[in-house]
Symmetry: C2
Subunit: 341 residues, 2 copies
DNA sequence: GTGAAAGCGCTAACAT
DNA sequence: ATGTTAGCGCTTTCAC
């Protein structure tokens, strides 16, 4: 019952009657191997269930198959869904996921360096990083990075323009939403926006404002500062305390805010959607339970596309990443907190 | 702008005026180093921000700092919270998280082997594994495993008795809940249970049944088969179609089921908690928004305790893991879908 | 208490 | 097309 020694390259080579270089070549699908030998080696590998050591690989500076995922803490299962999408893509390549979380900027950057240094990941997927990140220079010799649910801002430090991103079009989606609402007869709109340091929040807000302007007859105003349902609940109560009337609709930054706001509305006896409409953003699982009209974020798809973009960058060793931005569509889910749109 | 070569042991040794063996000893906090030398080495390490290569470490068979997390797919952010707790604990040790997901048993076992083989993790945390897992033999030379939100069943295959677990007491918590409900005057209870192949579901169900029996004057029945909110919604509609009256309370397997059931109740004009009470289980973030009375699962704590238990097993290299079972408390959160408890 | 030296399992020149 | 060899950066005997 003692630990059987791990199978290694040399052993495989011996079993296949060849040398370890040849086996190594087969492993990497390199060209200069005769079809016959290749077949023989592959057979042995399969037969003995051999898997090359990630560590030995890493030592030589070759690809390790390790993909790092760096995230900030977020409630609402967003992370879980992204990671699932990433896992799907990474698994197909036989790689591993190295996950880490950081709250503060310093810690975030430190982890980034460590993950691609000590924990030699082939590349990093950064999930919705803080905008502070882009003050950090991105060196040409840094391991590939893909931004997920984010993109490089105009004023980023040097080097970031080569970094790819997979994200959604907040501005466009918000304009689409406002247009749909306007078409459905909603005129007086209040946007409960997100926090000032949140990029998505700013984009949705600017989308909201520009859309309102471009729809004659529609008027809108913005309330700042909600991200959690508790905040949504508080802001809605503040609003109801300060105003006698109601707008036609509350367009919330995200589902959580909408949940909280909705709870406040219902507690104060306001009927939704009869008296007032409300919309969220994200389409969390419970949005369906609550029957909230919202904008669907295809989160797993974001993750999957990010991983694919990363493989793209990793494979073109030739340096120069693409700096490509992939946009994922975000359809509107019409439910019963609004009239049919 | 060229790639600066990574700092290594030899370089640190040179800078500290000693040999690499000594540096290695310092790194591992080994005893046979003079305090003076140790201090000097530590200083250099700190000054140059040196971090030893995980790969070189792995090559020698030493600990790698890699902790594997193996999960099945679960909705509702459960995974995200556990992983966060695990990350907290692992980060303190300077380790990394290797995350993987598997749906099917075969795949699960394959990943387990790969993670501790090719991707030489020091140990594995298995989140709520399928019970099929325990049919697989656990070999004495396997890397340490800790079960999170699960525990070794009676009829497990050989070797599993040495495996530690961190979990909650479903049976006890359900008995506590039923007792509290009974004390609050609820008499006629219906338990909307989970799926038959779900261990938690079975435990909660058996807790429910045994508690009902031990409370004279209380009667209860069980409806099987809900896990998602959609299923809760469907089952509740079925129930309302089949019965003219209502029980005093619906005790649901989890929050999702409760959300769905609640939605159905409200759509049919039933008032909660005036006409009927309803409880969930998990205390998801939105449970608060919906103001659902539920049992709080301290998910991040489960993760944290699991990681700590794993370190415990990893460190006692002496073979024999403890087989210790850590129970995490699950308090009841009383909100407004029941009367005060 | 310290250092020298032998690997760990692979990749990547460099022969042939 | 295939084999030989020199490392990669660490841990770990084994001498001193």
């Amino acid at each position: 019952m003692k630990q059987t020694k791990r199978l290694n390259l040399v052993e495989i080579a011996r079993l296949a009657g060849t040398s370890k270089s040849t086996v190594s070549r087969v492993l990497q699908d390199q060209p200069r191997v005769s079809p016959k030998t290749r077949a023989r080696v592959k057979e042995v590998i399969k037969k003995y269930n051999y898997e090359p050591s990630m560590f030995a690989r890493g030592m030589t500076g070759a690809q390790t198959g390790l993909i790092a995922v760096l995230a900030r803490w977020m409630e609402s299962g967003f992370f879980a869904d992204v990671i699932r999408g990433i896992d799907d893509a990474v698994k197909k390549k036989g790689g591993f996921l190295l996950c880490s979380f950081a709250e503060e900027h310093e810690e975030y950057v430190r982890l980034w360096r460590t993950l691609t240094g000590r924990g030699q990941a082939d590349g990093v997927i950064m999930i919705a990083p803080s905008m502070d990140l882009f003050k950090e220079p991105f060196n040409p010799y840094d391991k590939p990075v893909v931004l997920c649910a984010s993109r490089v801002p105009e004023d980023a430090a040097e080097g970031w323009d080569a970094v790819s991103a997979v994200t959604t079009d907040n501005v466009g989606a918000m304009r689409t939403l406002v247009t749909a609402l306007a078409d459905a007869g909603y005129r007086d709109m209040v946007h409960i926006a997100g926090l000032p340091d949140n990029v998505d929040a700013q984009q949705r807000k600017s989308g909201f404002l520009s859309a309102v302007v471009s729809h004659p007859g529609v008027q809108g105003c913005v309330i700042d500062g909600a991200c959690t349902s508790e905040q949504g609940y508080g802001l809605m109560n503040d609003y109801l305390d300060a105003h006698t009337g109601l707008p036609d609709i509350f367009v919330c930054f995200n589902d959580s805010v909408a949940f909280g706001a909705l709870r406040a509305l219902r507690e104060r006896g306001r009927r939704v959607p009869e008296e007032v409409g409300i919309t969220g953003w994200d389409d969390e699982v419970v949005a369906n339970d609550i029957s909230l009209t919202t904008v669907h974020m295809p989160v797993a798809e974001l993750g999957k596309a990010s991983a694919e973009a990363l493989f793209d960058s990793v494979e073109r060793k030739s340096g120069a990443a693409s700096g490509k931005v992939t946009m994922i569509e975000t359809p509107i889910c019409v439910r019963s907190t609004t009239r049919p749109l």
